[in-house]
């Protein structure tokens, strides 16, 4: 299971990196979002993948699932969601003001 997750996370990260390196702003934002999902899966995997154990300390069962990574992911998802929303709004606004979403043209030069 961990191997499968590792491969999935790897694919997500490489996809995200590819998208971030493109010129179009929308693709870049999608890329950051995909990297964010990869990170969330990574946290989940790093906490240890188990089936069948309740997330409780002191229960009768010998095996229990660590609930902390899931709490961390919940927070990370919310933050990622908020930042992506803000980023998209800003991209729309800057497209309307600057009339371009091409990062090459957003470089910015000294004499303007």
């Amino acid at each position: 299971m961990e191997t499968l997750m590792a491969i999935t996370i790897g694919i997500l990260f490489s996809l995200g990196t590819y998208l971030v390196l493109t010129k179009s702003l929308i693709r870049i934002i999608l890329g950051t979002s995909i990297i964010g999902h990869g990170v969330n899966l990574l946290i989940l995997t790093m906490g240890g993948l188990k089936t069948g154990g309740p997330p409780l300390l002191g229960a009768e069962d010998l095996s229990y699932t660590d609930a902390l990574p899931q709490a961390l992911i919940l927070t990370a998802i919310v933050i990622n969601f908020a930042v992506t929303a803000l980023f998209l709004v800003l991209a729309y606004r800057s497209y309307k003001t600057l009339r371009t979403d091409d990062m090459e043209q957003l470089r910015g030069y000294e004499d303007e």
């Binding site: 950051t32 990297i35 964010g36 790093m46 990574p69 930042v83 980023f87 800003l90 606004r93 003001t97």
Partner: protein, 496 residues
């Protein structure tokens, strides 16, 4: 247990939330946000006193004992930074009253400003690595909006880049947290420190620590600073000043915390790398400061140089080097805000930030000119002023650790800093007065108070350095002895 710690988060947060409702009542917004910052200054003073008399203070939120709950911890290092943050934030806020413009004021400038300060306080207070991430995000999201508030072309363009680089570094931060959790099995900083000290810092842990160097290096503008000059010169003066004074410093604080408390067992790898990055930062920053000839660029490159110098003290990992870094960190927060405020005032008066277009301002604005002169001397570390002591201790620390190249480059770049700020002083203030008072684009009315306040602080910090040293010494002592921190947080808790 000390409930005063949480007040520093609650007061600016609640005030900011309430101010969202009173959007149109600008006078009320001003008074309330200034009052909130004054109250937090008083609380941080009380905290300094408590830490001095009773040792490191901690608060376990919700009564969940560390390492299970979220701990807030304040030692002398964070207490000093908290007080400096409150004072600098107050000065920049007062500057914003007259300079930020009604449109921004009516569009939630004050709530956002308070949320930014909340994030900074939270980062200084927290004793949990994941909570540090959350506080970073609180601070960063407010800074995204503050940077783009107003929506001019240059602001939009720069904030896109700023957000992108910070979103990526936040993702890497989470990756680092995930790895560390897998290796050590905890995220409470004191618990992390205890566990790593117990089993030793092996190769995997050191590799994870390198990831943290990249993450915090991006936030602190340590070597990975290429996003900084553009984004710090885009927003209005008051916002640029608070960014320059606080945001990179939070990254520096995180580096200090992690590399003195958690990953301090392999200084020949991690701290040496920090030293190399510090040298590169100082050299490249100095080139930038000398090469450009507009005020904002020169000042933003000065921010970068000082980051390199502060990290040089950490890289030496000696008591005296850390003492110097703390001295310099406090000085730098004040002086960078001061330089940005004066630089912004000059640009506001003349309507241009190109050097050489306007000369002889000293005739029409003598006080502004001489205060810039004091700030320029202070930033380059001339003796009676506040930058001197920190620089001496940092240099001494690097020499003690045998990193002569590190201290040498630090001294060399001081000269370049002096040259770059003197360039502004001589070009803008000396020479023929070619701008009469009637032709000025702006006014200094109401802007002088915060500038005078910060100038007085830097002079006081220099002249009264002797009185401050016991506190700085205590802060450095606690940083060099992680056991103090661990005992204060975990206490008698036997859970390992």
């Amino acid at each position: 247990m000390n409930n005063a710690l949480i007040l520093l988060i609650i007061i600016p947060l609640i005030t900011g939330m309430v101010l969202i409702i009173f959007r149109k009542k600008i006078v009320f917004q001003r008074v309330a946000s200034a009052a909130a910052l004054l109250v937090t200054s008083i609380i941080s003073l009380i905290l300094i006193y408590q830490v001095k008399t009773k040792g490191i203070q901690s608060l376990q939120l919700g009564g969940w004992e560390a390492p299970f709950g979220i701990s807030f911890v304040v030692d002398m290092f964070s207490a000093l930074l908290l007080l400096t943050t409150s004072l600098v934030a107050f000065a920049c806020l007062v500057y914003a009253f007259r300079s930020i413009g009604t449109e921004r004021e009516a569009n939630y400038f004050y709530p956002l400003y308070l949320f930014l300060i909340t994030g900074v306080y939270g980062s200084f207070l927290t004793g949990d690595l994941f909570n540090l991430f959350v506080c970073f995000e609180v601070m960063l999201i407010s800074s995204y909006v503050l940077l783009s508030l107003g929506g001019t072309k240059i602001q939009l363009r720069e904030s896109i880049k700023y957000i992108l680089i910070n979103v990526l570094s936040s993702s890497l931060f989470l990756v680092g947290i995930a790895y560390l959790y897998a290796v050590v099995g905890t995220l409470n900083m004191a618990h992390l420190s205890a566990r790593i000290a117990e089993v030793g810092q092996d190769g995997v842990t050191t590799t994870v620590s390198l990831l943290f160097i990249i993450v915090f290096g991006l936030k602190a503008a340590l070597f990975l600073f290429y996003w900084l000059p553009g984004s710090y010169s885009a927003p209005p003066t008051a916002i640029g000043a608070i960014f320059a004074a606080l945001l990179t410093k939070v990254g520096i604080y995180a580096l200090f915390r992690t590399f003195t408390l958690i990953f301090y067992h392999e200084p020949q790898i991690t701290h040496l790398l920090l030293g190399i990055m510090g040298v590169a930062t100082m050299v490249l920053g100095a080139f930038g400061a000398i090469a450009f000839s507009d005020i904002k660029r020169i000042l933003t490159y000065n921010v970068i140089i000082s980051v390199g110098l502060i990290i040089a003290g950490l890289a030496s990992y000696s008591l005296i080097g850390i003492t110097g870094s703390i001295n310099y960190l406090v000085h730098d927060m004040i002086i960078k805000a001061l330089l940005f405020l004066i630089g912004g005032t000059i640009i506001g008066l003349t309507g241009t930030d190109k050097l050489g277009e306007v000369t002889g301002l000293i005739r029409t604005h003598p006080y502004l000119g001489w205060m810039f002169f004091i700030a320029a001397l202070s930033v380059s570390g001339i003796p009676p002023l506040s930058g001197f002591l920190g620089k001496v201790f940092i240099t001494k620390g690097t020499f003690e650790a045998g990193y002569y190249w590190l201290g040498g480059v630090g001294l060399m770049t001081s000269l370049m800093v002096l040259y770059s700020v003197m360039k502004i002083f001589m070009n803008a203030f000396w020479g023929e007065t070619n701008l009469s008072q009637e032709m000025e684009k702006g006014t200094t009315k109401g802007l002088m108070f915060p500038i005078v306040l910060l100038t007085m602080l830097t002079v006081l910090l220099g002249v009264g350095a002797e009185a401050m040293q016991p506190y700085v010494k205590m802060a450095a002592d606690d940083l060099m002895n992680p056991l103090h921190y661990i005992h204060a947080v975990l206490g008698g808790n036997s859970i390992q």
